[in-house]
């Protein structure tokens, strides 16, 4: 039953992605407005799916790698929608909704069945660890979207190519602000997530840190974000440099998220 909501959400994510891309193509704001509502309904279906899973299994809904991808998509859409309330940045949806949709496609490969959680992972700490970390990472993904869009808009303005395309893109200041807020929130959540994770690890493996490939890459990404945040807050980095660095830091994070799960043997593996 709950899987139906997942599939409906997947299709509606696709619709909103198409809508947003269509609004970019036609340069019509109305199309983007409608797409925002479509994205909101996808998010609602997706939320129902998570709620039903929780009730049915009575456990943490984010255990497997595929569940993590689906949760990532959900968090990104949710955070974007929250921003949408405050700022006029509809076009950012054209970056967010396709990513959500692709994550959902990847997640759908193995979503129908239920994963029974091994005893070692049946802890509230694990659930908190995963949710904090993935939400933090979703915020970073959004910061990256804003950064990429910043670089595009900046390129257009610097090269004096102010066309109707640059008109639909948000203003530089708005994009920089979103980038900044996402970085701050994302960094706090990821840091908390890592701390919770290591507390749990100590209780199970006896040590706080295992230098497992996934942990190492995550730490590298965490440092990259720490440096970026330091530059932003202390050195007053804004705009171009900050946006570019956001993209680099996210590349490191992607390696830790995806590649380590696929390429390395890691103790930090989802089932």
């Amino acid at each position: 039953m709950d899987i139906i909501f997942f599939r409906v959400a997947l299709v509606v994510y696709l619709l909103s992605a198409l809508g947003y891309l269509g609004s970019l193509y036609t340069r019509r704001v109305l199309v983007a407005k409608v797409s925002t509502w479509v994205l909101f309904s996808a998010f609602a279906f997706h939320t129902v799916f998570f709620a039903m899973r929780c009730i049915k299994t009575g456990q943490n809904p984010v255990v497997s790698f595929h569940e993590m991808l689906s949760f990532f998509a959900w968090a990104m859409a949710g955070i974007y929608l929250a921003f949408q309330l405050k700022t006029k940045t509809r076009v950012l949806g054209a970056f967010v909704s396709p990513v959500s949709f692709l994550l959902m496609i990847a997640a759908s490969k193995d979503m129908a069945g239920y994963v029974s959680i091994p005893a070692a992972l049946q802890s509230n700490l694990v659930a908190i660890h995963v949710i904090l970390a993935v939400t933090g990472e979703a915020l970073f993904a959004l910061a990256t979207c804003a950064g990429a869009m910043y670089l595009i808009q900046e390129g257009l303005l610097k090269n004096k190519k102010v066309s109707s395309f640059s008109k639909v893109l948000p203003s530089l200041t708005d994009l920089d602000r979103i980038n900044h807020i996402c970085l701050m929130l994302g960094f706090s959540l990821l840091t908390l997530g890592i701390l919770v994770g290591s507390i749990w690890a100590r209780s199970v493996w006896g040590s706080l840190w295992q230098w497992d490939p996934k942990q190492t890459w995550t730490l590298a990404a965490w440092f990259a974000y720490a440096v970026l945040l330091h530059q932003r807050l202390a050195m007053g980095w804004k705009g171009h440099k900050a946006a570019l660095f956001t993209l680099l830091a996210f590349a490191a994070l992607l390696i830790s998220l995806v590649l380590t799960s696929l390429l390395f043997v890691t103790a930090h593996r989802f089932i």
Binding site: L157, K158, K160, P170, S171, L172, T173, D174, W237, K238
Partner: protein
């Protein structure tokens, strides 16, 4: 008819070339003198603004005059023949008149409908008149162009929706800052253009307004008008970090803002974005400033590109204006073709005969008592008085017309006897 208009504007010549020409043309009077030294030119007008350099002339020998005028521009702009042929336009006779009318009506302006150009033409005309460089033909064209400008202004919407440089600047500022409310603005240099831009921005409730000018008193005056703060010119580098938007339009020959100044300001601003608009020719801001991170520099040619995309909505008004201009060019040509000896003599006679007929009609009451013979004698007498009065002027006109110098006399007679007002 040998009216020549030669020049270049923002559409035909890039900023660098206009700058070169404008720089060497600091002193209009000398250039006018140089133009008037060309023997083929009888009347001349020299117009140089930040968007155009044009010479309007009435010549005896069209081709010779054009060749020498080309030399004049070639020499001052330090241009190669290849560059010049790309940038220069040349109009003759009614096309020259039409071009001047379009310029005066602000249809040919970079910012269509901007009010500045008419004042600039009036200044150029005043200079020409003061140096006796104009005569019947140019005086008439110029006065006519002022009338055309007024008509276009009042009969079309071009002036109202002057989608101006300032409008384009506001649009850009929105792309950079999101909201303009609360952003601080600095105006460097005075001039109608920068004042226009300031008015546009103030209507968007900007934050503080700073005004700098080489003449401090002028800055203080402008600051009063705009409820802003005047800044000493030398203090500019100290205050730059306080502002988000800078509009420059000084007449300075060198750069007013340089990369080190902007870099320092950006550092003090903690990398907050800075939007610079340079509407001066020659430029006030070193183009290298545009390379600095988080600085957005737009000069007058860059703004052109943005103004173009707003043009469509005003095309209809422009078409209306073109129709008015067509009508006025026709009127001018009518006036011009009447500047011949024979038509003037005919209309002079017609006018006089009309007066006689009118007076006789008025006197018909007391003339009823006269015999037919007496009445005829009175008419004959009146006619012969007119003939005697007109004899000398007509003979004089005919004599002058033999060596082509009758124009001023014809124009004077037409004016004094009111032959053109019907």
């Amino acid at each position: 008819m040998n009216i020549i208009l030669i020049g270049m504007n923002h559409k035909t010549a890039p900023l660098e070339i206009r700058e070169r020409l404008y720089l060497s043309c600091g002193d209009d009077v000398n250039h006018l003198a140089e133009i008037m030294n060309i023997p083929e030119i009888k009347e001349g007008l020299y117009l140089a603004t930040c968007n155009r350099v044009e010479v309007l002339a009435n010549a005896t020998d069209g081709e010779g005059a054009v060749a020498r005028l080309r030399d004049f521009i070639f020499h001052h702009g330090n241009l190669s023949a290849e560059e010049m042929s790309k940038c220069l336009y040349l109009h003759h006779d009614h096309e020259a008149v039409r071009h001047l009318f379009r310029v005066a009506a602000s249809i040919d302006s970079m910012v269509m409908g901007e009010p500045q150009i008419l004042g600039q033409i009036k200044d150029a005309f005043r200079t020409a008149v003061e140096h006796n460089a104009t005569g019947v033909i140019l005086n008439k064209i110029l006065h006519h162009s002022f009338r055309v400008a007024k008509r276009v202004r009042s009969e079309t919407g071009i002036a109202n929706n002057a989608v101006s440089v300032s409008f384009a600047a506001v649009e850009l500022a929105k792309k950079i800052f999101g909201v303009i409310e609360g952003r601080n603005v600095l105006l460097i240099g005075a001039g109608e253009m920068s004042e226009l831009a300031a008015k546009h921005l103030i209507s968007r409730r900007v934050g503080k307004i700073f005004i700098a000018n080489r003449t401090y008193a002028r800055a203080v005056k402008m600051a009063e008008d705009f409820h802003g703060t005047a800044i000493e010119f030398d203090m500019l580098p100290e205050r730059l970090h306080e502002v988000d938007i800078v509009i420059t339009s000084t007449g300075a020959p060198g750069y007013v803002l340089t990369p080190p100044m902007i870099e320092a300001a950006i550092r003090r601003r903690k990398n907050r974005l800075l939007f610079l608009i340079d509407i001066a020719v020659p430029r006030d801001i070193d183009p290298a400033v545009g390379e600095i991170d988080n600085v957005y520099l737009y000069n007058i040619d860059d703004l052109q590109g943005i103004v173009d995309s707003n043009l469509k909505s005003r095309k209809k008004e422009a078409e209306k204006a073109e129709t008015i201009i067509d009508e006025e060019v026709t009127k001018y040509l009518e006036w011009y073709s009447a500047l011949e000896v024979v038509p003037t003599i005919i209309s002079l006679r017609e006018k006089m005969e009309g007066i006689i007929r009118g007076e006789i009609a008025k006197s018909s009451a007391w003339m009823e008592n006269l015999t037919e013979d007496e009445k005829r004698n009175i008419e004959i007498m009146a006619n012969s008085i007119i003939n005697k009065v007109l004899h000398d002027p007509i003979t004089g006109l005919k004599e002058e017309s033999k060596d082509n110098s009758a124009l001023p006399y014809i124009a004077a007679i037409r004016r004094l006897f009111g032959l053109d007002d019907k």
